[in-house]
Symmetry: C2
Subunit: 343 residues, 2 copies
């Protein structure tokens, strides 16, 4: 039995979406046990709408919740907030495997680093979403927002963290790691990229394939794109924005007249493929990598299916021992010989 | 009569594509005069295929050309290279208004800064493409590759340069300038973004509307997104990559069977709108802003219509006095009081 704690109050559609998503995930996996953290009466009101195995679902009552505009490092001190209480339970209870939240990204990162704690040797936790690629799989983008400023050693570690995720989450052996840069040639980029390139080349624990560009993320010729949190965030949101525009145009144009509605029916399979290609929520949310336990940050606007996917993904990578794999890989790097002392 | 010099040898499809594009542009605008820089015999062989007013077209024979893998600062010294000769002519001949090239980006930037020179007061030239947005217009992204490392003052200037382009190229009065960041709140981003935000707030010559995210570029609620060349490049290529994937899927799926081909005919207008939305070459190429004359860098893979669009765009912004407008706007900023001395 895998026990997962879900922040029922985080996100734009909480608690309705979160509770429905949790029920969906629970019903799909008989080996799952879910704790819903949030206002008991609100959660109970939502739970009443569904059929589920109540012996595998419990509520952890929390009287407070964190909003999107709260200051993360302050909010994370509010002991009755659902995310905070969930993090403390995750830290203290050995049998809780993972946390899923659609709440404030900043508070999720702060709670992860301050309450739960990082795996020994990890410099910084990193946010890592799975981007749909043209091979029908996913490309991991790490970091995409937790660390606006990075040093070469951090980028190297992001490559390690994401490699462990690619293995545990997608069964990819020896995942291909690219460094997100402004060109593919070895000398390209700013000093951060130039130094990181030289370090990654020397690392045996990752399968470094060189520099990649923004357009390579969705192509799928790599499994992982390593970025600082700033440019990773820009890349993610640029792709999402482009995808949303296209889907928006399709929706509007195809429902414009009887003629276009009929046309839509004929080409539905093609449209379905396009939708799948642009489904950035397919895997639910981004992993917060480098922490002592599995933490999944679902989109703030998560729908029930997004929450359910995040929970299923959390269970999957727990089963495949993500944290253990990170520790193994990290142990294979001699950081002191890799990174010059003055770094 | 506007005289424009075109590097006939730059780009993947040169000289065929460049010459055809030049002829198209010439035939569309009777006020245009074009100089084609490149191997005379190759250009003449291409020109023979078309009808055009030969009194408005001349060839500047150049025996050398710059490849995509040549080192820019070295290549720009090769005096017989078409791009180099074109830059020298642009610098020396008062009546040449603009240069259009699809050649090496690095060499174009190097030639612009070293041969042609910057407008007085401009710290760095910046590459500024026009991204199609959902309002049916374009959002300017500046810088997107000329400067991987930037200081706050440079980002402020990019806002000024792009504002002049938005006016001269698109007739936008008081264009809205956003700072590309990893979130919209004022405190977001790294120190570079935080400092730039505070400086831009104080600048009267630009209409600063605050931080924007990657997804806002294609939305069109802003006219200009200011970025360092690194993250701007990542944003551009991420959007392009996403767009190309979608168009690739459409092309493949819609030609898969008779059924889908018929379906395609019915919904053709909708598809056309999607194509327009994803046409990153609509304006031809990116402007290299901040130089003493108009320079347009067309895509390396430019087709004839891309070259023609680049030439038309160059003529348009020359007519609307881009360089003069940059000088006017720059004169309106008191940099010494704006930027602290230790910057």
């Amino acid at each position: 039995m895998i026990k997962i704690i879900v922040d029922a109050m985080g996100g734009d559609n909480a608690p309705a979406s979160n509770v429905e998503g949790a029920v969906t995930a629970l019903n799909a996996d008989s080996d799952l046990y879910i704790i819903l953290a949030g206002r008991q009466e609100d959660i109970q009101a939502e739970l009443k709408k569904y059929k589920y195995d109540s012996s595998r679902m419990e509520i952890m009552d929390c009287r407070d919740s964190i909003g999107m505009n709260d200051i993360p490092t302050e909010a994370i001190k509010r002991k009755e907030a659902s995310l905070v209480k969930a993090y403390w339970a995750l830290k203290k209870e050995d049998d809780i495997a993972a946390l899923v939240t659609a709440g404030s990204t900043g508070a999720t990162i702060a709670g992860g680093q301050i309450i739960l704690g990082r795996i020994k040797g990890v410099k910084r936790a990193a946010l890592c979403p799975a981007i749909p690629n043209s091979r029908g799989g996913y490309t991991l983008l790490c970091d995409c927002g937790a660390n606006a400023e990075c040093k070469p050693e951090m980028l190297c570690q992001f490559g390690v963290l994401a490699s462990a995720y690619a293995e545990a989450g997608f069964g990819i052996k020896n995942p291909r790691v690219g460094l997100l840069n402004n060109g593919t040639e070895e000398h390209k980029g700013d000093p951060l990229r130039q130094t990181t390139y030289q370090l990654m080349k020397k690392m045996d624990v990752i399968n470094f394939v060189g520099n990649v560009e923004g357009r390579d993320i969705m192509m799928g010729d790599i499994d992982i794109a390593v970025a600082d949190g700033f440019s990773g965030n820009v890349a993610l949101k640029s792709m999402e924005g482009c995808g949303k525009l296209v889907l928006g145009i399709m929706k509007k144009e195809f429902s414009a007249s009887l003629r276009t509605k009929l046309g839509y029916l004929v080409i539905k399979p093609a449209i379905k493929k396009m939708r799948a290609q642009l489904d950035f929520d397919g895997m639910g949310g981004a992993l917060l990598l480098g922490l002592k336990k599995v933490v999944v940050k679902s989109h703030g606007s998560s729908k029930p299916r997004t929450i359910a996917a995040s929970i299923a993904n959390a269970a999957q990578i727990y089963r495949n021992n993500l944290v253990g794999r990170v520790e193994e890989l990290l142990a294979g790097v001699d950081w002191q010989s890799l990174v010059p002392k003055d770094e």
